[in-house]
Protein backbone atom coordinates (compact mmCIF):
# COMPACT_ATOMS: atom_id res chain seq x y z
CA UNK A 1 0.00 0.00 0.00
CA UNK A 2 1.78 3.05 -1.31
CA UNK A 3 0.01 6.44 -1.41
CA UNK A 4 1.63 9.58 -2.81
CA UNK A 5 0.06 13.03 -3.12
CA UNK A 6 2.40 15.35 -4.97
CA UNK A 7 2.68 18.48 -7.07
CA UNK A 8 5.49 17.09 -9.24
CA UNK A 9 4.84 15.05 -12.38
CA UNK A 10 5.39 11.30 -12.24
CA UNK A 11 6.47 8.87 -14.97
CA UNK A 12 3.61 6.42 -15.47
CA UNK A 13 5.72 3.78 -17.25
CA UNK A 14 8.54 3.92 -14.72
CA UNK A 15 6.08 3.68 -11.83
CA UNK A 16 4.17 0.84 -13.50
CA UNK A 17 7.39 -1.14 -14.09
CA UNK A 18 8.67 -0.53 -10.54
CA UNK A 19 5.31 -1.59 -9.10
CA UNK A 20 5.22 -4.79 -11.16
CA UNK A 21 8.85 -5.62 -10.31
CA UNK A 22 8.18 -5.22 -6.57
CA UNK A 23 5.50 -7.94 -6.64
CA UNK A 24 6.27 -11.51 -5.69
CA UNK A 25 4.11 -14.38 -6.88
CA UNK A 26 1.47 -12.03 -8.31
CA UNK A 27 0.47 -12.97 -11.86
CA UNK A 28 -1.78 -9.99 -12.59
CA UNK A 29 -1.11 -6.25 -12.52
CA UNK A 30 -3.75 -3.66 -13.46
CA UNK A 31 -3.10 0.06 -13.82
CA UNK A 32 -5.34 3.03 -14.43
CA UNK A 33 -4.08 6.46 -15.35
CA UNK A 34 -6.08 9.66 -15.71
CA UNK A 35 -4.92 12.23 -18.24
CA UNK A 36 -5.86 15.92 -18.57
CA UNK A 37 -8.24 16.02 -21.54
CA UNK A 38 -8.64 19.00 -23.77
CA UNK A 39 -12.14 20.56 -23.81
CA UNK A 40 -14.63 20.22 -26.67
CA UNK A 41 -15.57 23.93 -26.84
CA UNK A 42 -12.61 26.11 -25.88
CA UNK A 43 -8.97 24.94 -25.74
CA UNK A 44 -7.90 24.19 -22.20
CA UNK A 45 -4.98 26.35 -21.00
CA UNK A 46 -4.46 24.26 -17.91
CA UNK A 47 -6.18 22.43 -15.09
CA UNK A 48 -5.75 23.46 -11.44
CA UNK A 49 -6.23 20.76 -8.82
CA UNK A 50 -6.88 21.84 -5.25
CA UNK A 51 -6.77 19.37 -2.37
CA UNK A 52 -7.07 19.21 1.42
CA UNK A 53 -3.57 18.45 2.76
CA UNK A 54 -3.75 15.99 5.62
CA UNK A 55 -7.22 14.70 4.85
CA UNK A 56 -6.25 13.68 1.30
CA UNK A 57 -3.55 11.24 2.45
CA UNK A 58 -5.84 9.84 5.17
CA UNK A 59 -8.74 9.36 2.75
CA UNK A 60 -6.54 7.61 0.16
CA UNK A 61 -5.03 5.31 2.79
CA UNK A 62 -8.54 4.51 4.01
CA UNK A 63 -9.72 3.64 0.49
CA UNK A 64 -6.65 1.46 -0.15
CA UNK A 65 -7.13 -0.34 3.18
CA UNK A 66 -10.72 -1.17 2.26
CA UNK A 67 -9.59 -2.54 -1.10
CA UNK A 68 -7.00 -4.76 0.60
CA UNK A 69 -9.67 -6.00 3.05
CA UNK A 70 -12.03 -6.87 0.22
CA UNK A 71 -9.71 -8.44 -2.38
CA UNK A 72 -6.63 -10.60 -2.22
CA UNK A 73 -3.98 -8.07 -3.24
CA UNK A 74 -0.21 -8.37 -3.22
CA UNK A 75 0.18 -4.61 -3.46
CA UNK A 76 -1.46 -1.34 -4.44
CA UNK A 77 -0.26 2.11 -5.47
CA UNK A 78 -2.05 5.45 -5.67
CA UNK A 79 -0.31 8.58 -7.01
CA UNK A 80 -2.35 11.79 -7.34
CA UNK A 81 -1.06 15.19 -8.34
CA UNK A 82 -2.29 18.64 -7.34
CA UNK A 83 -1.50 22.15 -8.58
CA UNK A 84 -1.29 23.21 -12.22
CA UNK A 85 -1.42 20.61 -15.01
CA UNK A 86 -1.23 21.11 -18.77
CA UNK A 87 -3.37 19.20 -21.32
CA UNK A 88 -2.09 15.63 -21.85
CA UNK A 89 -0.29 15.57 -18.49
CA UNK A 90 -1.07 12.65 -16.21
CA UNK A 91 -3.23 13.55 -13.23
CA UNK A 92 -3.04 10.34 -11.28
CA UNK A 93 -2.55 6.60 -11.43
CA UNK A 94 -3.50 3.54 -9.46
CA UNK A 95 -1.99 0.07 -9.71
CA UNK A 96 -3.07 -3.22 -8.16
CA UNK A 97 -1.43 -6.65 -8.10
CA UNK A 98 -3.03 -9.98 -7.38
CA UNK A 99 -2.65 -13.66 -8.17
CA UNK A 100 -5.76 -13.46 -10.34
CA UNK A 101 -6.87 -10.88 -12.87
CA UNK A 102 -10.42 -10.58 -11.51
CA UNK A 103 -9.21 -9.34 -8.11
CA UNK A 104 -6.70 -6.94 -9.67
CA UNK A 105 -9.34 -5.47 -12.02
CA UNK A 106 -12.08 -5.16 -9.42
CA UNK A 107 -9.78 -3.61 -6.81
CA UNK A 108 -8.50 -1.04 -9.35
CA UNK A 109 -12.07 -0.11 -10.31
CA UNK A 110 -13.01 0.18 -6.63
CA UNK A 111 -10.00 2.42 -5.89
CA UNK A 112 -10.95 4.67 -8.80
CA UNK A 113 -14.63 4.88 -7.91
CA UNK A 114 -13.91 5.82 -4.28
CA UNK A 115 -11.00 8.10 -5.08
CA UNK A 116 -13.22 9.99 -7.53
CA UNK A 117 -15.94 10.91 -5.03
CA UNK A 118 -14.37 10.43 -1.58
CA UNK A 119 -10.87 11.86 -1.78
CA UNK A 120 -10.77 15.66 -1.32
CA UNK A 121 -9.62 16.88 -4.72
CA UNK A 122 -11.29 19.57 -6.80
CA UNK A 123 -10.53 20.34 -10.43
CA UNK A 124 -10.81 23.73 -12.12
CA UNK A 125 -10.46 24.06 -15.87
CA UNK A 126 -8.98 27.29 -17.22
CA UNK A 127 -9.54 28.46 -20.79
CA UNK A 128 -9.09 31.78 -22.61
CA UNK A 129 -12.79 32.42 -21.78
CA UNK A 130 -12.31 32.04 -18.03
CA UNK A 131 -12.22 29.26 -15.51
CA UNK A 132 -14.81 26.85 -14.11
CA UNK A 133 -14.86 24.21 -11.38
CA UNK A 134 -15.50 20.74 -12.74
CA UNK A 135 -18.90 19.50 -11.54
CA UNK A 136 -19.25 16.12 -9.88
CA UNK A 137 -21.21 13.62 -11.98
CA UNK A 138 -24.24 11.75 -10.63
CA UNK A 139 -22.96 8.53 -12.16
CA UNK A 140 -19.79 8.75 -10.03
CA UNK A 141 -21.88 8.80 -6.87
CA UNK A 142 -24.04 5.98 -8.25
CA UNK A 143 -20.91 3.85 -8.77
CA UNK A 144 -20.31 3.83 -5.00
CA UNK A 145 -23.80 2.50 -4.33
CA UNK A 146 -23.01 -0.44 -6.63
CA UNK A 147 -20.01 -1.41 -4.48
CA UNK A 148 -22.05 -1.36 -1.29
CA UNK A 149 -24.57 -3.86 -2.69
CA UNK A 150 -23.81 -7.56 -2.74
CA UNK A 151 -22.49 -8.69 -6.13
CA UNK A 152 -23.48 -11.74 -8.14
Amino acid sequence: MDVRVQEAPFDFGVEANAFAAAQSGMGAVVTFTGIVRDLPDAPLCHMMIEHYPGMTEKALHGIATKAHDRWSLGGSLIIHRFGRLAPDEMIMMVATASRHRKDAFEAAMYLMDYLKSRAPFWKREETAQGSAWVAARDEDEAALIDWSEPHA
Binding site: Y52, M55, S117, R118, P120, F121, W133, A136
Partner: protein
Amino acid sequence: MDVLYFAWVRERIGVPRETVQTDAETVLDLVEELRRREDRYEAAFADITALRVAVDQELTEFTAPLKDAREVAFFPPMTGG
Protein backbone atom coordinates in the same frame (compact mmCIF):
# COMPACT_ATOMS: atom_id res chain seq x y z
CA MET B 1 -12.29 25.85 16.06
CA ASP B 2 -10.56 26.00 12.66
CA VAL B 3 -12.96 26.26 9.74
CA LEU B 4 -11.60 25.46 6.26
CA TYR B 5 -13.10 26.15 2.84
CA PHE B 6 -12.18 24.60 -0.50
CA ALA B 7 -12.86 25.18 -4.20
CA TRP B 8 -15.78 27.53 -4.93
CA VAL B 9 -16.78 27.64 -1.24
CA ARG B 10 -13.35 29.14 -0.53
CA GLU B 11 -13.80 31.58 -3.40
CA ARG B 12 -17.21 32.77 -2.18
CA ILE B 13 -16.09 33.18 1.42
CA GLY B 14 -12.82 34.77 0.39
CA VAL B 15 -10.47 32.96 2.80
CA PRO B 16 -9.18 29.38 2.83
CA ARG B 17 -9.25 29.08 6.63
CA GLU B 18 -10.32 31.01 9.72
CA THR B 19 -10.68 30.47 13.44
CA VAL B 20 -14.28 30.65 14.66
CA GLN B 21 -15.41 31.00 18.27
CA THR B 22 -18.65 29.08 18.52
CA ASP B 23 -20.87 27.05 20.84
CA ALA B 24 -22.63 25.35 17.92
CA GLU B 25 -23.56 21.80 18.81
CA THR B 26 -23.80 20.41 15.28
CA VAL B 27 -22.40 21.24 11.86
CA LEU B 28 -25.82 22.55 10.87
CA ASP B 29 -25.86 24.92 13.88
CA LEU B 30 -22.44 26.23 12.78
CA VAL B 31 -23.68 26.75 9.21
CA GLU B 32 -26.72 28.72 10.46
CA GLU B 33 -24.48 30.83 12.71
CA LEU B 34 -22.13 31.65 9.80
CA ARG B 35 -25.02 32.44 7.41
CA ARG B 36 -26.31 35.09 9.83
CA ARG B 37 -22.91 36.80 9.92
CA GLU B 38 -22.34 38.14 6.41
CA ASP B 39 -23.64 37.88 2.86
CA ARG B 40 -20.56 35.97 1.65
CA TYR B 41 -21.40 33.12 4.04
CA GLU B 42 -25.03 33.24 2.93
CA ALA B 43 -23.79 32.99 -0.69
CA ALA B 44 -21.60 29.99 0.11
CA PHE B 45 -24.10 28.09 2.25
CA ALA B 46 -27.33 28.95 0.40
CA ASP B 47 -27.78 25.36 -0.76
CA ILE B 48 -26.13 22.91 1.57
CA THR B 49 -27.26 19.94 -0.54
CA ALA B 50 -24.51 21.16 -2.94
CA LEU B 51 -21.92 20.93 -0.14
CA ARG B 52 -19.96 18.30 1.73
CA VAL B 53 -18.48 18.57 5.21
CA ALA B 54 -15.55 16.95 7.00
CA VAL B 55 -15.04 17.11 10.77
CA ASP B 56 -11.44 16.50 11.84
CA GLN B 57 -10.66 15.35 8.29
CA GLU B 58 -13.37 12.69 8.13
CA LEU B 59 -16.35 13.08 5.80
CA THR B 60 -19.56 13.31 7.80
CA GLU B 61 -23.18 14.52 7.76
CA PHE B 62 -24.42 18.04 8.47
CA THR B 63 -26.23 16.60 11.50
CA ALA B 64 -22.90 15.50 13.07
CA PRO B 65 -22.04 16.87 16.55
CA LEU B 66 -19.15 19.29 16.92
CA LYS B 67 -18.22 18.33 20.50
CA ASP B 68 -14.38 18.24 20.76
CA ALA B 69 -14.01 18.98 17.03
CA ARG B 70 -10.81 20.87 16.18
CA GLU B 71 -11.28 21.33 12.43
CA VAL B 72 -14.36 21.61 10.24
CA ALA B 73 -14.10 21.83 6.44
CA PHE B 74 -16.74 22.76 3.85
CA PHE B 75 -16.40 22.03 0.15
CA PRO B 76 -18.31 20.98 -2.99
CA PRO B 77 -18.58 17.34 -4.07
CA MET B 78 -15.12 16.04 -4.87
CA THR B 79 -13.82 15.63 -8.42
CA GLY B 80 -10.54 13.74 -8.15
CA GLY B 81 -9.21 10.99 -10.37
